[in-house]
Symmetry: C2
Subunit: 300 residues, 2 copies
């Protein structure tokens, strides 16, 4: 695969900025009782591309907002992502031992602390949103709308709903519609909320919000189909978690349902549609466009 090296460096720079902010917002492990702070930090800093906060900040940039003013809200998206991974990995769910090359939260801290670390991160996420300064286009009204959007995306009509269907389905009884439901909710909803967070807090009107929402929906699908392909073909060391876990867990996937070639074509289609949704922003959308290409070409 040939990546755009400038883009990779830029993504890394932006991820590092997010990491610096996350480190500031997460309580020190010296706080009492320490084990929960340790568990939260273990999972948040186990790696990860920080795509959700990076997307929120990039949306703000494209719409001439002030990305610096919305960093707490951007970080909230990552905390919700991390909480969902911690709970998904639990023995009662996917029962995974490794995540991003490290022991999962419950493997290291036990199930009780892992459940509570997830709960704490989800709760802290909503607290972080309220810490955005009310300056420029970032208003109390806008922040309250963001609380509404993110809580909808993370709840039963989004992330949780997708995970529920994922848990109760298996590869034998699933159809294309259910598979799409899972991914539209489990991955798509939070991508959508990420772009919309950036748009809302930039004071963007309905048309811009809609363009970025559609960009996010296609990007989410492209990401998820690629994830399924990577689980089938990827290298365990590069990805940082066991491959072929979908087969092991009897999970439905795009390659299993449509075949590898068709799945690849679907990911490419979604990517193309995603890029089309932001083409009207010209050069300002370069980063968002390169990010789509990265998402379907990545090996991790």
């Amino acid at each position: 695969m040939i990546y755009n090296l400038d883009f990779l460096n830029e993504l890394k720079r932006r991820s590092n900025d997010v990491n610096t902010a996350l480190d500031r917002y997460l309580p020190e492990v010296s706080a009492y009782p320490g084990v929960i702070y340790e568990a939260m930090r273990h999972s948040v800093f186990a790696g990860g591309k920080r795509l959700r906060p990076v997307l929120a900040l990039a949306a703000s940039e494209v719409l001439d907002g002030s990305p610096d003013d919305i960093i707490p809200a951007a970080c909230a998206l990552e905390l919700i992502h991390t909480y969902s991974l911690i709970h998904d990995d639990l023995p009662a769910m996917d029962n995974d031992d490794l995540r991003r090359g490290q022991p999962t939260c419950h493997k290291k801290f036990g199930e009780a602390i892992a459940i509570l670390a997830g709960d704490a991160l989800l709760t802290l996420a909503f607290n972080l949103i309220t810490r955005c300064a009310r300056v420029g286009s970032v208003t109390s009204d806008g922040l309250l709308t963001v609380v509404a959007e993110i809580s909808e995306a993370a709840g039963v009509y989004g992330l949780v709903g997708g995970q529920v269907l994922d848990i109760i389905s298996s590869s034998e009884n699933i159809d294309a519609e259910s598979l799409e439901y899972i991914h539209r909710n489990k991955t798509g909803a939070m991508y959508r909320a990420s772009l919309r967070t950036g748009a809302i807090l930039s004071g963007a009107g309905g048309k811009d919000r809609q363009s970025l929402t559609q960009y996010a929906e296609h990007l989410g699908m492209a990401f998820q189909i690629t994830d399924d392909i990577l689980d089938l073909l990827g290298d365990e060391k590069t990805i940082g978690k066991p491959v072929k876990s979908d087969i092991k867990n009897n999970k439905a996937t795009y390659p299993a349902l449509f075949g590898l070639n068709e799945a690849r074509r679907m990911a490419a289609d979604e990517a193309e549609n995603s890029i089309r949704c932001v083409s009207q922003y010209g050069e300002k959308a370069d980063f968002l466009i390169e990010l789509v290409k990265f998402v379907i070409q990545r090996s991790y």
Copy 2:
């Protein structure tokens, strides 16, 4: 015990109003995928006195706010309480089979769905806050402050932090300070947030907020000490959950640490202090005062 019957009827009337609202806010079980809505409703409607929403609405009343305008935020407090019970009951935590006379969520729906039902209720709580109408003293600024207060009270510096210490402590290694930490956070923080939600959304100033905060802190302690006594002496059928579970689970309690008589005296002291904090509101505080008396005299 002799209760004030008028108060009991009034409490019941108010709890019923909260139940009606909760029923409106919780998705129908006919929604897809149904099992998660069923699990959420099972736990929310398994009973419960609805003290937290009732307290938020009563605070609004005392401060001449508009209780009707803040019902969604009041219900949010109950959803967070229910989520915390679902997660506390899990096998990895207290491993309880019964709650309010009904099978616990994981007993009925399995662990995975119980974890997700808790996650969904916590997330929905923050969504509900945003649904309060912005009228009168209920402003976007106020609602955002409530999101901040409730997320702080429910997080590592409150509910989750208390539960963590409860999990890692046992009756052998706990001292009075740690026991107070557990209860101040596990129960107290959400009582505090309940009263403060009502106060903030009534546009109350610092002095009123402080009085109701202190009322809540003493009430929370009175409630928790009484809970410990009920677990030791109460009737399983009346309480709706197994008694002596604290001894079974090797949990520290006030009667165990201080003796039954001293625990009773402590509860009475906390109740008296609580009542003193709202005496300046005269007749308007009658309900809050009767509620304190009920909390230490109740048999369930």
